[in-house]
């Protein structure tokens, strides 16, 4: 049985797809057979971030409608043998998903994989509900600013009331907080909410803090999940995050302003 993890946020543009790609890749790096499913029907992005956009033939909606089988639609990652992507359809809209179809596909994936990462669309409408409905765990991606935090709070409410686990009275979805685009310097200046501020409001377990980093944009543009850039701060923070996700204890990094050495102060960096 696979563990189904939804990556969700409510708000758009906070880093759900970047996170899905990074965490899926990270789990595969750790030896777990992983599939990342793009639930953002109509706004297909995951394939770009994963660098497999030229190999998309069939998609999630084709599989749901029985126009293709899973084997035809799953795209195997070129870098890792145990990592697969199920792309979204670009030509349809989010109403193309329905619970029965999604459940059937997830059940089929569940037999074969250790982890299923569901990359949720933004919003709280049917598309996002489909992505979170069958989840066992949720990674709530939040930026350190008030509107993102409030939207995350809203999604947390949905997770505890609108999911299959909630409806069937099973133990609730395990919730994790992932703070992205964190900039310790701006936090220090009081321009950005701190980890503690966000923790205080959302009150769920902190899974990771990803620093604001140029490496993320570079990674996205080159179709290389940022976690593979092990030299970058964001890549390392995602590696830590994946370790915590599978139960390891790893200290948090990149929370404080890095002290600049003399040379860095002179030459910048």
């Amino acid at each position: 049985m696979a563990k189904i993890i939804v990556v969700t946020s409510g708000k758009g543009g906070v880093g759900k797809t970047t996170t899905s790609a990074a965490i899926g890749t990270g789990l595969a790096l750790k030896g777990h057979k992983t599939v990342i499913v793009d639930f953002d029907i109509g706004l297909r992005n995951l394939d770009l971030i994963m660098g497999c956009e030229r190999r998309v033939v069939y998609d999630f909606v084709n599989v749901i409608n029985g126009e293709a089988n899973l084997k035809q639609a799953l795209i195997k990652d070129k870098r890792l043998d145990n990592l697969f992507i199920l792309p979204a359809s670009q030509t349809r809209d989010k109403d193309a998903l329905h619970k029965e179809g999604v459940e059937r596909v997830l059940n089929e994936l569940s037999d074969e994989f250790d982890f299923i990462i569901c990359d949720s669309p933004a919003g709280i409408e049917s598309g996002a509900m489909m992505a979170l409905y069958f989840a066992d765990e949720a990674i709530v991606v939040t930026n350190p600013e008030v509107s993102s935090v409030r939207d995350s709070d809203r999604i947390l409410g949905m997770l505890s009331s609108k999911s299959r686990r909630a409806e069937q009275g099973l133990p609730g979805i395990k919730e994790h907080l992932l703070l992205t685009r964190y900039n310790p310097e701006r936090v220090q200046k009081g321009e950005m909410l701190s980890v503690d501020d966000v923790n205080d409001i959302l009150a769920i377990k902190l899974l990771g803090v990803i620093p604001e980093s140029q490496a993320v944009l570079n990674a996205s543009n080159s179709g290389q999940p940022v976690i593979l850039d092990a030299d970058s701060d964001a890549g390392q923070a995602y590696l830590d995050t994946v370790s915590r996700l599978v139960g390891e204890t790893v200290p948090f990094r990149f929370l404080n302003v890095e002290k600049k050495g003399l040379l860095k102060r002179i030459f910048g960096g």
Partner: protein
């Protein structure tokens, strides 16, 4: 003696707002289900409300007597039917119901539709004190009818907690809290960390703007004294 110019009774035409019920299924079982759900969303709001059923798209004659009985049970007053053809009119008259003209187009502003409408947010209704052992998240709404609400957690910004009784919050209150919703001015709100969007007791309310000051973020008890909201430190 009553003078001729002073009649005992008089009949005058008047206009009254009536709720019109539009439904797809006229069976008593379906109506009971849908109406009960509808009424549960706004308890008390429709009590003894006069209602007219639109039978315009009704293809067979429903059991008007049974429907009337159902309305009485649900504390609604069935006044009559509208949009009835001759056969339906006859059946309605036989059950003691008035046959009314269908409402003019454009004036059916807010029909009380019996078709299932998804409630905006989960609403909890009970007549016993309700204890909630988790955080109330943005967008969630909790209502406790006729009793107290106790929350062992935080009420997030954009969440609403409403009770006819007192409200106790053993976490931060960042959303709206409405105690004494039924009008009882003796009810109070207790919270461990007060940063609300709105607090209200028996219809008297303060917004966040009015509450910035010494008590912000403190453990506080809020009550009503001579029609005026009063804050006091909890400890």
């Amino acid at each position: 003696m009553v003078a001729m110019s002073d009649p005992i009774i008089e009949l005058k035409g008047s206009l009254f707002p009536l709720s019109v019920l539009y439904c797809q299924d006229f069976s008593v079982a379906a109506l009971r289900q849908e109406l009960s759900n509808k009424l549960a969303q706004a308890p008390g709001f429709f009590t003894q409300a006069p209602v007219v059923i639109s039978v315009e798209n009704c293809d067979q004659i429903p059991d008007f007597n049974a429907i009337k009985q159902l309305f009485t049970e649900l504390q609604l007053v069935l006044v009559g039917v509208c949009g009835a053809d001759a056969a339906l009119k006859k059946a309605a008259h036989a059950a003691g119901l008035a046959a009314l003209q269908p409402p003019k187009a454009g004036k059916t502003a807010e029909p009380v539709k019996a078709a299932p409408a998804a409630p905006a947010a989960p609403t909890v209704i009970t007549t016993e004190n309700k204890t909630i052992e988790q955080n109330i998240r943005s967008g969630q709404q909790i209502y406790v009818k006729g009793a107290d609400l106790i929350i062992r957690g935080t009420v997030g910004a954009g969440a609403e907690v409403i009770a006819d009784g007192n409200i106790h919050i053993y976490g931060a209150l960042r959303g709206k809290a409405i105690a004494g919703a039924g009008g009882d001015a003796s009810k109070k709100i207790y919270c461990y960390n007060m940063q609300p969007e709105l607090i209200s007791i028996a219809g008297n309310y303060w917004l966040s703007d009015n509450l910035q000051g010494d008590y912000w973020g403190k453990p506080v008890c809020i009550g009503l004294q001579d029609g005026q909201l009063m804050l006091a430190e909890l400890f």
